[in-house]
Protein backbone atom coordinates (compact mmCIF):
# COMPACT_ATOMS: atom_id res chain seq x y z
CA UNK A 1 0.00 0.00 0.00
CA UNK A 2 1.78 3.15 -1.24
CA UNK A 3 0.73 6.71 -0.42
CA UNK A 4 2.80 9.86 -0.05
CA UNK A 5 2.94 9.09 3.68
CA UNK A 6 4.56 5.67 3.20
CA UNK A 7 6.91 7.06 0.55
CA UNK A 8 8.09 10.01 2.64
CA UNK A 9 8.54 7.91 5.76
CA UNK A 10 10.07 4.96 3.90
CA UNK A 11 7.60 2.46 5.32
CA UNK A 12 5.55 -0.30 3.69
CA UNK A 13 2.23 0.51 5.40
CA UNK A 14 1.07 4.14 5.95
CA UNK A 15 0.30 3.44 9.61
CA UNK A 16 1.91 5.39 12.45
CA UNK A 17 1.81 4.24 16.07
CA UNK A 18 0.98 7.06 18.48
CA UNK A 19 3.77 8.34 20.71
CA UNK A 20 2.09 7.56 24.04
CA UNK A 21 4.18 8.74 27.00
CA UNK A 22 5.16 5.99 29.48
CA UNK A 23 3.70 3.42 27.05
CA UNK A 24 5.35 3.62 23.63
CA UNK A 25 8.68 1.92 24.30
CA UNK A 26 11.25 0.14 22.14
CA UNK A 27 9.38 -3.15 22.15
CA UNK A 28 6.08 -1.66 20.92
CA UNK A 29 7.75 0.66 18.41
CA UNK A 30 10.06 -2.08 17.13
CA UNK A 31 7.13 -4.46 16.66
CA UNK A 32 5.15 -1.87 14.70
CA UNK A 33 8.14 -0.97 12.52
CA UNK A 34 8.95 -4.65 11.92
CA UNK A 35 5.36 -5.04 10.67
CA UNK A 36 5.82 -2.28 8.12
CA UNK A 37 4.34 0.69 10.01
CA UNK A 38 6.17 3.52 11.74
CA UNK A 39 6.86 2.55 15.34
CA UNK A 40 7.31 5.60 17.55
CA UNK A 41 9.10 5.75 20.89
CA UNK A 42 7.66 8.36 23.24
CA UNK A 43 10.38 10.44 24.86
CA UNK A 44 7.74 11.79 27.24
CA UNK A 45 9.56 12.97 30.35
CA UNK A 46 11.93 9.98 30.37
CA UNK A 47 15.71 10.33 30.89
CA UNK A 48 17.91 10.51 27.80
CA UNK A 49 19.48 7.17 28.67
CA UNK A 50 16.06 5.48 28.62
CA UNK A 51 15.35 6.92 25.17
CA UNK A 52 18.70 5.63 23.93
CA UNK A 53 18.02 2.16 25.34
CA UNK A 54 14.58 2.01 23.73
CA UNK A 55 15.86 3.08 20.32
CA UNK A 56 18.46 0.29 20.53
CA UNK A 57 15.74 -2.18 21.54
CA UNK A 58 13.47 -1.14 18.66
CA UNK A 59 16.32 -1.49 16.17
CA UNK A 60 17.05 -5.01 17.40
CA UNK A 61 13.42 -5.91 16.60
CA UNK A 62 13.33 -4.02 13.28
CA UNK A 63 16.91 -3.68 12.06
CA UNK A 64 16.02 -2.50 8.55
CA UNK A 65 12.99 -0.34 9.33
CA UNK A 66 12.59 3.37 10.17
CA UNK A 67 11.98 4.27 13.83
CA UNK A 68 10.22 7.40 15.06
CA UNK A 69 10.63 9.47 18.22
CA UNK A 70 7.81 11.54 19.73
CA UNK A 71 8.95 14.67 21.53
CA UNK A 72 6.80 16.85 23.81
CA UNK A 73 7.98 20.35 23.04
CA UNK A 74 7.21 21.71 26.52
CA UNK A 75 9.73 19.34 28.10
CA UNK A 76 12.28 21.54 29.93
CA UNK A 77 15.32 19.82 28.35
CA UNK A 78 13.72 19.60 24.90
CA UNK A 79 16.96 20.96 23.38
CA UNK A 80 18.88 17.90 24.57
CA UNK A 81 16.19 15.51 23.28
CA UNK A 82 16.20 17.29 19.93
CA UNK A 83 19.96 16.75 19.66
CA UNK A 84 19.65 13.15 20.80
CA UNK A 85 17.29 12.49 17.88
CA UNK A 86 20.05 13.65 15.55
CA UNK A 87 22.79 11.69 17.34
CA UNK A 88 20.73 8.49 17.26
CA UNK A 89 19.88 8.92 13.55
CA UNK A 90 16.16 8.74 14.26
CA UNK A 91 14.23 8.46 10.99
CA UNK A 92 11.19 10.57 11.88
CA UNK A 93 10.20 12.87 14.73
CA UNK A 94 6.58 13.44 15.68
CA UNK A 95 5.95 16.40 17.98
CA UNK A 96 3.23 17.45 20.38
CA UNK A 97 2.52 19.93 23.16
CA UNK A 98 4.03 23.01 21.56
CA UNK A 99 5.72 24.12 18.34
CA UNK A 100 8.81 22.37 16.93
CA UNK A 101 9.70 25.53 14.95
CA UNK A 102 13.08 25.97 16.66
CA UNK A 103 14.26 22.49 15.69
CA UNK A 104 12.85 21.76 12.23
CA UNK A 105 15.90 23.05 10.34
CA UNK A 106 18.31 21.07 12.50
CA UNK A 107 16.33 17.86 12.07
CA UNK A 108 15.88 18.26 8.35
CA UNK A 109 19.61 18.91 7.91
CA UNK A 110 20.19 15.56 9.62
CA UNK A 111 17.77 13.80 7.25
CA UNK A 112 15.06 13.38 9.89
CA UNK A 113 11.46 13.57 8.67
CA UNK A 114 9.42 16.04 10.74
CA UNK A 115 5.76 15.27 11.41
CA UNK A 116 4.05 17.61 13.91
CA UNK A 117 0.70 16.79 15.48
CA UNK A 118 -1.84 19.57 14.85
CA UNK A 119 -5.38 20.20 16.04
CA UNK A 120 -6.30 23.15 13.77
CA UNK A 121 -5.93 23.97 10.08
CA UNK A 122 -3.96 27.17 10.75
CA UNK A 123 -1.34 25.22 12.73
CA UNK A 124 -1.02 22.74 9.87
CA UNK A 125 -0.42 25.55 7.38
CA UNK A 126 2.20 27.07 9.70
CA UNK A 127 4.02 23.74 10.00
CA UNK A 128 4.05 23.37 6.22
CA UNK A 129 5.60 26.83 5.87
CA UNK A 130 8.28 25.85 8.40
CA UNK A 131 9.20 22.79 6.36
CA UNK A 132 7.31 19.90 7.97
CA UNK A 133 7.21 16.77 5.78
CA UNK A 134 3.68 15.80 6.81
CA UNK A 135 1.24 16.61 9.60
CA UNK A 136 -0.78 14.42 11.92
CA UNK A 137 -4.28 15.94 12.21
CA UNK A 138 -5.58 14.65 15.53
CA UNK A 139 -9.23 14.87 16.55
CA UNK A 140 -10.46 15.20 20.11
CA UNK A 141 -11.84 11.64 20.24
CA UNK A 142 -8.22 10.59 20.76
CA UNK A 143 -6.90 9.56 24.16
CA UNK A 144 -4.48 11.71 26.14
CA UNK A 145 -3.98 15.43 25.48
CA UNK A 146 -6.55 16.69 23.00
CA UNK A 147 -7.67 19.77 21.10
CA UNK A 148 -11.21 20.91 20.36
CA UNK A 149 -11.91 19.70 16.83
CA UNK A 150 -13.09 16.23 15.90
CA UNK A 151 -11.43 14.04 13.28
CA UNK A 152 -14.41 14.27 10.89
CA UNK A 153 -14.35 18.08 10.97
CA UNK A 154 -10.57 18.56 11.26
CA UNK A 155 -9.09 16.26 8.63
CA UNK A 156 -10.82 17.70 5.54
CA UNK A 157 -10.12 21.26 6.66
CA UNK A 158 -6.44 20.45 7.25
CA UNK A 159 -6.29 18.75 3.83
CA UNK A 160 -7.65 21.94 2.26
CA UNK A 161 -5.07 24.04 4.12
CA UNK A 162 -1.87 22.17 3.15
CA UNK A 163 -0.25 20.39 0.21
CA UNK A 164 1.94 18.08 2.32
CA UNK A 165 0.37 14.72 3.17
CA UNK A 166 -2.00 14.46 6.12
CA UNK A 167 -2.05 11.58 8.60
CA UNK A 168 -5.38 11.27 10.45
CA UNK A 169 -5.52 10.49 14.17
CA UNK A 170 -8.32 10.31 16.73
CA UNK A 171 -10.89 7.52 16.57
CA UNK A 172 -8.79 5.41 14.15
CA UNK A 173 -9.08 1.90 15.48
CA UNK A 174 -9.81 -0.52 12.63
CA UNK A 175 -10.10 -0.77 8.86
CA UNK A 176 -13.40 1.08 8.60
CA UNK A 177 -12.22 4.12 10.58
CA UNK A 178 -8.91 4.19 8.68
CA UNK A 179 -10.86 4.03 5.41
CA UNK A 180 -13.19 6.83 6.51
CA UNK A 181 -10.21 9.04 7.41
CA UNK A 182 -8.73 8.53 3.94
CA UNK A 183 -12.12 9.32 2.36
CA UNK A 184 -11.66 12.70 4.07
CA UNK A 185 -8.32 13.17 2.30
CA UNK A 186 -5.78 11.62 4.68
CA UNK A 187 -3.03 9.45 3.14
CA UNK A 188 -2.17 7.58 6.30
CA UNK A 189 -3.40 7.07 9.85
CA UNK A 190 -2.04 7.15 13.39
CA UNK A 191 -3.54 4.95 16.10
CA UNK A 192 -2.88 4.99 19.83
CA UNK A 193 -5.69 3.31 21.75
CA UNK A 194 -5.75 0.30 19.42
CA UNK A 195 -2.09 -0.42 20.19
CA UNK A 196 -2.70 -0.38 23.98
CA UNK A 197 -4.00 -3.95 23.99
CA UNK A 198 -1.59 -5.59 21.52
CA UNK A 199 0.62 -8.36 22.86
CA UNK A 200 3.76 -6.26 22.50
CA UNK A 201 2.41 -3.34 24.57
CA UNK A 202 3.82 -3.25 28.09
CA UNK A 203 0.97 -1.56 29.99
CA UNK A 204 -0.38 -3.49 32.97
CA UNK A 205 -2.90 -6.26 32.34
CA UNK A 206 -5.51 -4.30 34.33
CA UNK A 207 -5.16 -1.31 31.94
CA UNK A 208 -5.55 -3.58 28.91
CA UNK A 209 -8.66 -5.17 30.43
CA UNK A 210 -10.18 -1.75 31.09
CA UNK A 211 -9.74 -0.83 27.42
CA UNK A 212 -11.16 -4.17 26.22
CA UNK A 213 -14.21 -3.82 28.47
CA UNK A 214 -14.90 -0.14 27.71
CA UNK A 215 -18.06 0.87 25.92
CA UNK A 216 -18.39 3.94 23.72
CA UNK A 217 -19.42 6.33 26.48
CA UNK A 218 -16.75 5.24 28.97
CA UNK A 219 -14.28 8.05 28.35
CA UNK A 220 -14.21 11.40 30.11
CA UNK A 221 -12.28 14.63 29.63
CA UNK A 222 -10.43 16.11 32.59
CA UNK A 223 -8.52 19.38 32.59
CA UNK A 224 -10.91 21.38 30.40
CA UNK A 225 -11.18 24.12 33.00
CA UNK A 226 -7.41 24.37 33.37
CA UNK A 227 -6.98 24.63 29.61
CA UNK A 228 -5.18 21.27 29.20
CA UNK A 229 -7.90 18.75 28.33
CA UNK A 230 -6.99 15.08 28.56
CA UNK A 231 -9.21 12.13 27.58
CA UNK A 232 -9.14 8.87 29.51
CA UNK A 233 -11.37 6.09 30.76
CA UNK A 234 -13.88 6.93 33.51
CA UNK A 235 -12.64 5.83 36.92
CA UNK A 236 -12.39 7.02 40.52
CA UNK A 237 -9.37 9.20 39.72
CA UNK A 238 -11.12 11.01 36.84
CA UNK A 239 -14.28 11.61 38.86
CA UNK A 240 -12.26 13.08 41.71
CA UNK A 241 -10.31 15.32 39.33
CA UNK A 242 -13.51 16.63 37.77
CA UNK A 243 -14.98 17.39 41.19
CA UNK A 244 -11.85 19.28 42.20
CA UNK A 245 -11.79 21.22 38.94
CA UNK A 246 -15.34 22.35 39.56
CA UNK A 247 -14.37 23.66 42.97
CA UNK A 248 -11.76 25.68 41.09
CA UNK A 249 -8.79 24.74 43.25
CA UNK A 250 -5.65 26.67 42.38
CA UNK A 251 -3.55 25.52 39.38
CA UNK A 252 -0.62 24.35 41.52
CA UNK A 253 -2.92 22.02 43.43
CA UNK A 254 -4.29 20.65 40.15
CA UNK A 255 -0.71 20.04 38.96
CA UNK A 256 -0.27 17.81 41.98
CA UNK A 257 -3.37 15.78 41.06
CA UNK A 258 -2.03 15.10 37.57
CA UNK A 259 1.58 14.36 38.53
CA UNK A 260 2.39 10.69 38.07
CA UNK A 261 -1.21 9.78 37.29
CA UNK A 262 -0.57 8.20 33.88
CA UNK A 263 2.42 6.23 35.15
CA UNK A 264 0.34 4.82 38.00
CA UNK A 265 -2.27 3.53 35.53
CA UNK A 266 0.38 2.07 33.20
CA UNK A 267 1.78 0.18 36.18
CA UNK A 268 -1.64 -1.23 37.09
CA UNK A 269 -3.44 1.24 39.37
CA UNK A 270 -6.44 1.65 37.09
CA UNK A 271 -8.65 3.17 39.81
CA UNK A 272 -6.17 5.73 41.14
CA UNK A 273 -4.35 6.58 37.92
CA UNK A 274 -5.09 8.24 34.58
CA UNK A 275 -6.10 5.52 32.07
CA UNK A 276 -5.67 7.56 28.90
CA UNK A 277 -7.67 6.13 26.00
CA UNK A 278 -9.81 7.41 23.15
CA UNK A 279 -13.54 7.15 22.42
CA UNK A 280 -12.86 4.29 20.01
CA UNK A 281 -11.84 2.07 22.95
CA UNK A 282 -15.36 0.67 22.77
CA UNK A 283 -14.50 -0.86 19.38
CA UNK A 284 -11.46 -2.71 20.78
CA UNK A 285 -12.70 -6.11 21.93
CA UNK A 286 -9.86 -8.55 21.34
CA UNK A 287 -6.13 -8.75 21.92
CA UNK A 288 -4.12 -8.88 18.75
CA UNK A 289 -0.50 -8.53 17.68
CA UNK A 290 0.97 -5.24 16.51
CA UNK A 291 1.35 -6.80 13.05
CA UNK A 292 -2.39 -7.62 12.92
CA UNK A 293 -3.27 -4.01 13.73
CA UNK A 294 -0.84 -2.62 11.17
CA UNK A 295 -2.34 -4.91 8.51
CA UNK A 296 -5.94 -4.03 9.42
CA UNK A 297 -5.32 -0.27 9.41
CA UNK A 298 -3.29 -0.50 6.22
CA UNK A 299 -6.08 -2.36 4.43
CA UNK A 300 -8.46 0.41 5.55
CA UNK A 301 -6.12 3.08 4.20
CA UNK A 302 -5.96 1.22 0.88
CA UNK A 303 -9.76 1.01 0.65
CA UNK A 304 -10.23 4.66 1.62
CA UNK A 305 -7.57 6.07 -0.68
CA UNK A 306 -8.89 4.06 -3.62
CA UNK A 307 -12.48 5.14 -2.98
CA UNK A 308 -11.47 8.77 -2.60
CA UNK A 309 -9.61 8.54 -5.90
CA UNK A 310 -12.70 7.18 -7.62
CA UNK A 311 -14.84 10.01 -6.20
CA UNK A 312 -12.52 12.75 -7.50
CA UNK A 313 -11.16 15.66 -5.54
CA UNK A 314 -13.56 18.28 -6.89
CA UNK A 315 -16.67 16.18 -6.40
CA UNK A 316 -15.53 15.38 -2.86
CA UNK A 317 -15.53 18.99 -1.74
CA UNK A 318 -18.35 19.97 -4.11
CA UNK A 319 -17.32 23.62 -3.88
CA UNK A 320 -15.44 25.60 -6.48
CA UNK A 321 -12.18 26.65 -4.94
CA UNK A 322 -12.24 24.19 -2.08
CA UNK A 323 -8.76 23.09 -3.12
CA UNK A 324 -7.48 26.58 -3.86
Amino acid sequence: MKTRVSEILGIAAPVVQGGMAWIADGRLAGSVSAAGGLGVIAAGAAPLSWIEDQVRRARTLAPQAPIGLNIMMMRPDVEAVADLAVDLHIDAVTTGAGSPAAFIERWKAAGIKVVPVVAQAAAAARMQRLGADAVIAEGCEAGGHIGEMTTMALVPQVCDAVDIPVIAAGGIVDARTAAAACMLGAEGVQAGTRFLTVDECGVAEAYKRKVLEAKDSDTIVTGRLSGHPVRGLKNAWARSVRAQERRAVDPAELEGIYAGSLRRAVEGDVAGGSCMAGQAAGSVRERKTAAHVVRALSSGVAAGVAARGRMGVDAAGDEEGVHA
Copy 2:
Protein backbone atom coordinates in the same frame (compact mmCIF):
# COMPACT_ATOMS: atom_id res chain seq x y z
CA MET B 1 -29.00 6.18 -4.84
CA LYS B 2 -30.86 3.51 -2.83
CA THR B 3 -30.01 2.48 0.72
CA ARG B 4 -32.21 1.14 3.51
CA VAL B 5 -32.58 4.75 4.68
CA SER B 6 -34.01 5.98 1.39
CA GLU B 7 -36.25 2.91 1.14
CA ILE B 8 -37.66 3.21 4.65
CA LEU B 9 -38.23 6.94 4.34
CA GLY B 10 -39.53 6.73 0.77
CA ILE B 11 -37.06 9.31 -0.53
CA ALA B 12 -34.82 9.36 -3.61
CA ALA B 13 -31.65 10.54 -1.84
CA PRO B 14 -30.68 9.27 1.65
CA VAL B 15 -30.11 12.81 2.92
CA VAL B 16 -31.97 14.24 5.90
CA GLN B 17 -32.04 17.94 6.72
CA GLY B 18 -31.46 18.65 10.40
CA GLY B 19 -34.43 19.86 12.46
CA MET B 20 -32.97 23.19 13.52
CA ALA B 21 -35.28 25.09 15.87
CA TRP B 22 -36.30 28.60 14.64
CA ILE B 23 -34.59 27.80 11.32
CA ALA B 24 -36.04 24.68 9.71
CA ASP B 25 -39.34 26.00 8.34
CA GLY B 26 -41.66 24.91 5.57
CA ARG B 27 -39.69 26.64 2.85
CA LEU B 28 -36.39 24.95 3.74
CA ALA B 29 -37.98 21.56 4.40
CA GLY B 30 -40.10 21.71 1.25
CA SER B 31 -37.06 22.61 -0.86
CA VAL B 32 -35.05 19.70 0.53
CA SER B 33 -37.93 17.25 0.03
CA ALA B 34 -38.56 18.54 -3.49
CA ALA B 35 -34.90 17.78 -4.23
CA GLY B 36 -35.28 14.18 -3.12
CA GLY B 37 -34.04 14.36 0.47
CA LEU B 38 -36.10 14.40 3.67
CA GLY B 39 -36.97 17.96 4.57
CA VAL B 40 -37.68 18.36 8.27
CA ILE B 41 -39.69 21.11 9.95
CA ALA B 42 -38.48 21.90 13.45
CA ALA B 43 -41.37 22.16 15.89
CA GLY B 44 -38.94 23.65 18.43
CA ALA B 45 -41.00 25.69 20.85
CA ALA B 46 -43.25 27.11 18.13
CA PRO B 47 -47.07 27.25 18.45
CA LEU B 48 -49.08 24.40 16.94
CA SER B 49 -50.59 26.77 14.38
CA TRP B 50 -47.10 27.68 13.11
CA ILE B 51 -46.24 24.01 12.68
CA GLU B 52 -49.44 23.44 10.74
CA ASP B 53 -48.72 26.42 8.48
CA GLN B 54 -45.18 25.23 7.76
CA VAL B 55 -46.28 21.72 6.91
CA ARG B 56 -48.76 23.17 4.43
CA ARG B 57 -46.04 25.39 2.98
CA ALA B 58 -43.64 22.45 2.61
CA ARG B 59 -46.30 20.37 0.87
CA THR B 60 -46.95 23.15 -1.60
CA LEU B 61 -43.28 23.05 -2.56
CA ALA B 62 -43.05 19.24 -2.57
CA PRO B 63 -46.56 17.87 -3.10
CA GLN B 64 -45.48 14.28 -3.76
CA ALA B 65 -42.59 13.98 -1.31
CA PRO B 66 -42.39 12.90 2.34
CA ILE B 67 -42.03 15.62 4.98
CA GLY B 68 -40.48 15.20 8.41
CA LEU B 69 -41.15 16.89 11.73
CA ASN B 70 -38.53 17.26 14.46
CA ILE B 71 -39.90 17.22 18.00
CA MET B 72 -37.97 18.19 21.14
CA MET B 73 -39.23 15.73 23.72
CA MET B 74 -38.73 18.11 26.65
CA ARG B 75 -41.25 20.57 25.25
CA PRO B 76 -43.99 20.96 27.89
CA ASP B 77 -46.86 20.34 25.43
CA VAL B 78 -45.05 17.50 23.65
CA GLU B 79 -48.21 15.39 23.87
CA ALA B 80 -50.10 17.88 21.67
CA VAL B 81 -47.26 18.06 19.14
CA ALA B 82 -47.11 14.26 19.01
CA ASP B 83 -50.82 14.16 18.18
CA LEU B 84 -50.47 16.96 15.64
CA ALA B 85 -47.88 14.84 13.76
CA VAL B 86 -50.54 12.14 13.44
CA ASP B 87 -53.31 14.58 12.46
CA LEU B 88 -51.13 16.18 9.77
CA HIS B 89 -50.07 12.78 8.36
CA ILE B 90 -46.40 13.62 8.80
CA ASP B 91 -44.25 11.00 7.06
CA ALA B 92 -41.37 10.83 9.52
CA VAL B 93 -40.65 12.18 12.99
CA THR B 94 -37.11 12.85 14.18
CA THR B 95 -36.74 13.40 17.92
CA GLY B 96 -34.19 15.03 20.19
CA ALA B 97 -33.76 16.23 23.77
CA GLY B 98 -35.28 13.25 25.54
CA SER B 99 -36.81 9.86 24.80
CA PRO B 100 -39.74 9.39 22.40
CA ALA B 101 -40.62 6.07 24.10
CA ALA B 102 -44.12 7.20 25.10
CA PHE B 103 -45.10 8.06 21.52
CA ILE B 104 -43.44 5.50 19.28
CA GLU B 105 -46.40 3.09 19.26
CA ARG B 106 -48.89 5.86 18.47
CA TRP B 107 -46.76 7.17 15.61
CA LYS B 108 -46.11 3.76 14.13
CA ALA B 109 -49.80 2.91 14.25
CA ALA B 110 -50.37 6.05 12.15
CA GLY B 111 -47.74 4.97 9.61
CA ILE B 112 -45.21 7.57 10.71
CA LYS B 113 -41.55 6.53 10.52
CA VAL B 114 -39.73 7.17 13.80
CA VAL B 115 -36.10 8.26 13.69
CA PRO B 116 -34.64 9.32 17.06
CA VAL B 117 -31.37 11.21 17.36
CA VAL B 118 -28.90 9.37 19.62
CA ALA B 119 -25.47 10.22 20.98
CA GLN B 120 -24.52 6.81 22.45
CA ALA B 121 -24.67 3.19 21.30
CA ALA B 122 -26.80 2.11 24.29
CA ALA B 123 -29.46 4.70 23.43
CA ALA B 124 -29.51 3.44 19.84
CA ALA B 125 -30.06 -0.13 21.00
CA ARG B 126 -32.88 1.03 23.30
CA MET B 127 -34.57 2.89 20.44
CA GLN B 128 -34.36 -0.21 18.25
CA ARG B 129 -36.01 -2.30 20.98
CA LEU B 130 -38.80 0.30 21.22
CA GLY B 131 -39.48 0.03 17.49
CA ALA B 132 -37.59 2.92 15.91
CA ASP B 133 -37.24 2.59 12.13
CA ALA B 134 -33.76 4.08 12.01
CA VAL B 135 -31.53 6.19 14.26
CA ILE B 136 -29.58 9.36 13.63
CA ALA B 137 -26.16 8.99 15.31
CA GLU B 138 -25.03 12.55 15.93
CA GLY B 139 -21.46 13.45 16.85
CA CYS B 140 -20.48 16.43 18.99
CA GLU B 141 -18.97 18.35 16.05
CA ALA B 142 -22.58 19.21 15.18
CA GLY B 143 -24.07 22.60 15.87
CA GLY B 144 -26.70 23.15 18.56
CA HIS B 145 -27.29 20.73 21.43
CA ILE B 146 -24.61 18.04 21.47
CA GLY B 147 -23.49 14.90 23.26
CA GLU B 148 -19.96 13.82 24.11
CA MET B 149 -19.00 11.39 21.34
CA THR B 150 -17.62 12.36 17.94
CA THR B 151 -19.04 11.11 14.65
CA MET B 152 -15.91 9.05 13.85
CA ALA B 153 -16.12 7.22 17.18
CA LEU B 154 -19.92 7.08 17.50
CA VAL B 155 -21.16 5.90 14.11
CA PRO B 156 -19.27 2.57 13.94
CA GLN B 157 -20.18 1.74 17.53
CA VAL B 158 -23.87 2.52 16.90
CA CYS B 159 -23.74 0.41 13.72
CA ASP B 160 -22.38 -2.50 15.79
CA ALA B 161 -25.16 -2.04 18.37
CA VAL B 162 -28.22 -2.06 16.06
CA ASP B 163 -29.58 -3.77 12.95
CA ILE B 164 -31.82 -0.88 11.87
CA PRO B 165 -30.19 1.61 9.49
CA VAL B 166 -28.00 4.37 10.87
CA ILE B 167 -27.99 7.96 9.61
CA ALA B 168 -24.78 9.83 10.46
CA ALA B 169 -24.85 13.44 11.64
CA GLY B 170 -22.21 15.84 12.93
CA GLY B 171 -19.53 17.19 10.60
CA ILE B 172 -21.40 16.08 7.45
CA VAL B 173 -21.06 18.99 5.08
CA ASP B 174 -20.05 17.77 1.61
CA ALA B 175 -19.52 14.63 -0.45
CA ARG B 176 -16.27 13.59 1.24
CA THR B 177 -17.70 13.75 4.77
CA ALA B 178 -20.89 11.95 3.67
CA ALA B 179 -18.74 9.27 2.05
CA ALA B 180 -16.58 8.90 5.16
CA ALA B 181 -19.68 8.47 7.33
CA CYS B 182 -20.92 5.67 5.08
CA MET B 183 -17.47 4.03 5.18
CA LEU B 184 -18.16 3.81 8.93
CA GLY B 185 -21.39 1.92 8.24
CA ALA B 186 -24.02 4.66 7.94
CA GLU B 187 -26.57 4.33 5.13
CA GLY B 188 -27.58 7.96 5.00
CA VAL B 189 -26.56 11.33 6.41
CA GLN B 190 -28.14 14.31 8.15
CA ALA B 191 -26.75 17.81 7.69
CA GLY B 192 -27.64 20.99 9.52
CA THR B 193 -24.88 23.59 9.19
CA ARG B 194 -24.58 23.08 5.45
CA PHE B 195 -28.25 23.99 4.98
CA LEU B 196 -27.88 27.26 6.92
CA THR B 197 -26.45 29.09 3.91
CA VAL B 198 -28.63 27.71 1.12
CA ASP B 199 -30.81 30.15 -0.77
CA GLU B 200 -34.00 28.68 0.68
CA CYS B 201 -32.91 29.07 4.33
CA GLY B 202 -34.52 32.02 6.06
CA VAL B 203 -31.87 32.92 8.66
CA ALA B 204 -30.66 36.52 8.52
CA GLU B 205 -28.00 37.46 5.98
CA ALA B 206 -25.59 38.30 8.83
CA TYR B 207 -25.91 34.74 10.21
CA LYS B 208 -25.22 33.25 6.77
CA ARG B 209 -22.17 35.47 6.35
CA LYS B 210 -20.82 34.38 9.73
CA VAL B 211 -21.06 30.73 8.68
CA LEU B 212 -19.45 31.40 5.28
CA GLU B 213 -16.57 33.28 6.91
CA ALA B 214 -15.96 30.83 9.76
CA LYS B 215 -12.74 28.89 9.94
CA ASP B 216 -12.39 25.45 11.52
CA SER B 217 -11.63 26.69 15.02
CA ASP B 218 -14.40 29.28 15.15
CA THR B 219 -16.94 27.26 17.12
CA ILE B 220 -17.24 27.11 20.89
CA VAL B 221 -19.25 25.02 23.32
CA THR B 222 -21.33 26.78 25.95
CA GLY B 223 -23.35 25.06 28.67
CA ARG B 224 -20.89 22.26 29.46
CA LEU B 225 -20.89 23.16 33.12
CA SER B 226 -24.69 23.23 33.30
CA GLY B 227 -24.89 19.83 31.61
CA HIS B 228 -26.54 21.09 28.40
CA PRO B 229 -23.68 21.67 25.97
CA VAL B 230 -24.47 23.68 22.84
CA ARG B 231 -22.09 24.38 19.94
CA GLY B 232 -22.15 27.66 18.07
CA LEU B 233 -19.91 30.22 16.43
CA LYS B 234 -17.62 32.28 18.67
CA ASN B 235 -19.03 35.74 19.33
CA ALA B 236 -19.56 38.25 22.13
CA TRP B 237 -22.59 36.36 23.43
CA ALA B 238 -20.74 33.03 23.69
CA ARG B 239 -17.74 34.60 25.40
CA SER B 240 -19.98 36.27 27.94
CA VAL B 241 -21.86 33.01 28.60
CA ARG B 242 -18.61 31.13 29.16
CA ALA B 243 -17.39 33.76 31.60
CA GLN B 244 -20.64 33.59 33.54
CA GLU B 245 -20.56 29.79 33.61
CA ARG B 246 -17.11 29.87 35.14
CA ARG B 247 -18.34 32.17 37.88
CA ALA B 248 -20.92 29.44 38.53
CA VAL B 249 -23.98 31.67 38.57
CA ASP B 250 -27.13 29.85 39.60
CA PRO B 251 -29.00 27.75 37.01
CA ALA B 252 -32.01 30.10 36.88
CA GLU B 253 -29.74 32.97 35.96
CA LEU B 254 -28.12 30.86 33.22
CA GLU B 255 -31.58 30.02 31.88
CA GLY B 256 -32.11 33.73 31.41
CA ILE B 257 -28.91 34.03 29.41
CA TYR B 258 -29.98 31.31 27.00
CA ALA B 259 -33.62 32.37 26.62
CA GLY B 260 -34.26 33.76 23.15
CA SER B 261 -30.58 33.68 22.21
CA LEU B 262 -30.94 31.49 19.11
CA ARG B 263 -33.93 33.46 17.85
CA ARG B 264 -31.98 36.72 18.18
CA ALA B 265 -29.20 35.31 16.00
CA VAL B 266 -31.64 33.92 13.42
CA GLU B 267 -33.15 37.41 13.16
CA GLY B 268 -29.75 39.01 12.59
CA ASP B 269 -28.19 39.83 15.98
CA VAL B 270 -25.06 37.73 15.40
CA ALA B 271 -23.10 39.43 18.20
CA GLY B 272 -25.72 39.21 20.92
CA GLY B 273 -27.38 35.91 19.95
CA SER B 274 -26.48 32.25 19.79
CA CYS B 275 -25.22 31.45 16.26
CA MET B 276 -25.54 27.69 16.42
CA ALA B 277 -23.31 25.94 13.88
CA GLY B 278 -21.02 22.93 13.72
CA GLN B 279 -17.25 22.56 13.36
CA ALA B 280 -17.66 21.87 9.64
CA ALA B 281 -18.80 25.48 9.12
CA GLY B 282 -15.20 26.13 8.03
CA SER B 283 -15.80 23.95 4.97
CA VAL B 284 -18.84 25.97 3.87
CA ARG B 285 -17.57 28.71 1.58
CA GLU B 286 -20.27 29.29 -1.01
CA ARG B 287 -24.01 29.78 -1.14
CA LYS B 288 -25.82 27.01 -2.95
CA THR B 289 -29.37 25.79 -3.40
CA ALA B 290 -30.89 23.09 -1.23
CA ALA B 291 -30.97 20.86 -4.31
CA HIS B 292 -27.22 21.29 -4.85
CA VAL B 293 -26.52 20.23 -1.27
CA VAL B 294 -28.83 17.21 -1.48
CA ARG B 295 -27.08 16.12 -4.69
CA ALA B 296 -23.58 16.59 -3.24
CA LEU B 297 -24.33 14.69 -0.04
CA SER B 298 -26.15 11.97 -1.95
CA SER B 299 -23.19 11.43 -4.26
CA GLY B 300 -21.00 11.10 -1.17
CA VAL B 301 -23.34 8.52 0.33
CA ALA B 302 -23.23 6.57 -2.94
CA ALA B 303 -19.41 6.60 -3.00
CA GLY B 304 -19.13 5.63 0.67
CA VAL B 305 -21.70 2.86 0.59
CA ALA B 306 -20.11 1.35 -2.54
CA ALA B 307 -16.62 1.50 -1.04
CA ARG B 308 -17.79 -0.01 2.23
CA GLY B 309 -19.41 -2.83 0.27
CA ARG B 310 -16.17 -3.53 -1.56
CA MET B 311 -14.23 -3.63 1.72
CA GLY B 312 -16.58 -6.20 3.29
CA VAL B 313 -18.14 -6.00 6.72
CA ASP B 314 -15.74 -8.38 8.49
CA ALA B 315 -12.62 -6.80 7.06
CA ALA B 316 -13.96 -3.38 8.05
CA GLY B 317 -14.13 -4.20 11.74
CA ASP B 318 -11.21 -6.65 11.57
CA GLU B 319 -12.38 -8.31 14.79
CA GLU B 320 -14.14 -11.61 15.10
CA GLY B 321 -17.53 -10.92 16.57
CA VAL B 322 -17.54 -7.22 15.87
CA HIS B 323 -20.91 -7.68 14.21
CA ALA B 324 -22.27 -10.11 16.79
